[in-house]
Symmetry: C2
Subunit: 398 residues, 2 copies
Amino acid sequence: IKLWERQVVEVAKKAKKIGKEDPRTIIHSLKVAVALTLVSLFYYYQPLYDNFGVNAIWAVLTVVVVFEFSVGATLGKGFNRMLATLLAGALAIGGHHFATLFGERGEPILISTFVFIAAAITTFVRFFPLMKARYDYGLIIFILTFSLVSVSAYRDDGVVDIARSRLSTIIIGSCIAIFVCIFIFPVWIGEDLHNLVAANMEKLGNSLQGFEGEYFQIAGNEQSREYDRSFLHMYKNVLTTKSNEENMANLARWEPCHGPFRFRHPWGQYIKVGTLNRQCAYKIEALNSFLYSEMQTPVEIKIKIQESCTNICSECDKALQELAAAIKKMVRSSSANPHIAASKSVAESLKSLLRTELTGEDDVDLIEKVPVAAVALLLIDIVKCIENIEEAVHELAS
Amino acid sequence: IKLWERQVVEVAKKAKKIGKEDPRTIIHSLKVAVALTLVSLFYYYQPLYDNFGVNAIWAVLTVVVVFEFSVGATLGKGFNRMLATLLAGALAIGGHHFATLFGERGEPILISTFVFIAAAITTFVRFFPLMKARYDYGLIIFILTFSLVSVSAYRDDGVVDIARSRLSTIIIGSCIAIFVCIFIFPVWIGEDLHNLVAANMEKLGNSLQGFEGEYFQIAGNEQSREYDRSFLHMYKNVLTTKSNEENMANLARWEPCHGPFRFRHPWGQYIKVGTLNRQCAYKIEALNSFLYSEMQTPVEIKIKIQESCTNICSECDKALQELAAAIKKMVRSSSANPHIAASKSVAESLKSLLRTELTGEDDVDLIEKVPVAAVALLLIDIVKCIENIEEAVHELAS
């Protein structure tokens, strides 16, 4: 009994954590419940039942299946479902009428053949990458409705009635889901993508700062260096967001104009910026492999280029934060330019510093100078990455 | 008209390409069609219709929705759907009996309240990561069946009949889908995951070989170096497979024992190996950034450590190929050991080579020696990565 109690408490804690992290989850749960209650009221309401009979239950089913967390996903599913039902219903009616020409014995054979062919072709089309990304749900619903209407029609002569009532109930259900999703605290997935890309930039900047703090801490004054160690690994989230970003961009395409976003907002450009972010994250991953490697450069060498490296990191960080802010505000901002220019000039001076300082005569083996020099070269590479990101961000704003 | 014709030809070409790349897509399409035709035969068959009436159509619907490409996905969806229907049906019957105690006016209010609460809680539970990964579909079906049975029961007093016929038809549909999926050319997602992880290892090895060829080609004899340039970028696929691998491991857990895989095969271990593969891929990405960077080491320096680097790359490649082969054959093979030992000893000698050869007096700036030294350090790091991979692979085999 005690164990059971502890588990309940644990689940409750987890639920609280999820709700706190993103309160939209709680709102979404209530929204689904509202939409479902709304559609069941339709069912209780006499005239609707008189019209559609037991088929009215399709409206309930549609609400449950179509209602997704974001507006984009809900619209995508809703439109897919409505269009596929319309198309499949029409085709099934046509097929039925054609099949009846062949008498009572030929009919089930012909209809089975139609269902077989439609199912095989549509299932195969689902493997086309573009169809998979945008119309996967519609294709399933197409098979579903086509076989449903075709097969039902065999028992019930009112094939047109079946198709019509299925279409109407699905339209009612989809519209209720879309309506509730859009007009009660909507969650726009385009906005989420927008914020994700900006947040990833901030994370990259923070990780650069964190790396600088960690790598040069031994060289610097302990107490003057205060930084958040959790910053160091923030870039790791950026490494694996590719499929997430692509999925979000696909769903965002369904969303109507909202807030500062137009209907045909260039969502594909976010994928581009995301790819550049990821390239920068790979470089930071490479930087981090120098943090704890067994081969370390002695402090007296590190200190020679510490200032330049620190400058590059902080200018790159500032540039990334400014770019993230520009994305968030959706302005074509040039406030990142001075930081990028500064980091470029520091990179140039770092290059000559590497030539002069590290080549100087001392009793340190060349091999021991390599790690810090490699770090410097990577930082110079990162400046280039950030230039590319800036260009892509500007393109996004224009 | 010409344009239209050209588009049809293009689509046909694309379809042919997809079918050629993975013939299982064609087989899957036919399997879906067979299952659907099979279930509609049940519908035509009189006794079944007499038993379930229009509800028999649920079986058709279930086949379409449950039938997925892999056995794991189909079993997961099928079990989720059956269990959720059973549970939700039972609860809905209980709720209905409780609600009827409150008379005709209280009943719809109480039922609506139940539906509201069930929908809100279940939707929220879908946000729990573990539930999302394994039981997401079941949770949707739970809401669906609960509201369907509750709401239908208001119009039709046979609430038990509704729940029973829904459950039976869903069991029939799921079983047909599972049966066809398993017994006609099954696609095991666990096997796919297994092959994917092994193939990724091969790709990493090939990319190392490709890098070596590309980086040192200027130094070597042109005609003696023949290698496939496409090898160079194979590692890029490995960078972004994380979510794919996790998804596959989740689905593989549903699969029964098949071929060399037991029911509780350690699928999680594949995710571990995959993560280590990815760490190796990040290093190769870092290597590749030295290929075309503006700072290049002169050939006369490169040539000094070329042999060691070439050896490391080829030994690492061989080790990775052996490990991939060991995974594929599912044996605890030690055939990778000599290659790993060789690459470790070459790595040690490369370290001392860096100390002696590169520090020698010559008129090359230190800064120009850094890139090739950094490449060497990265290669030494990669040897360590591969040791980790080997350990994880051995764990997998035991």
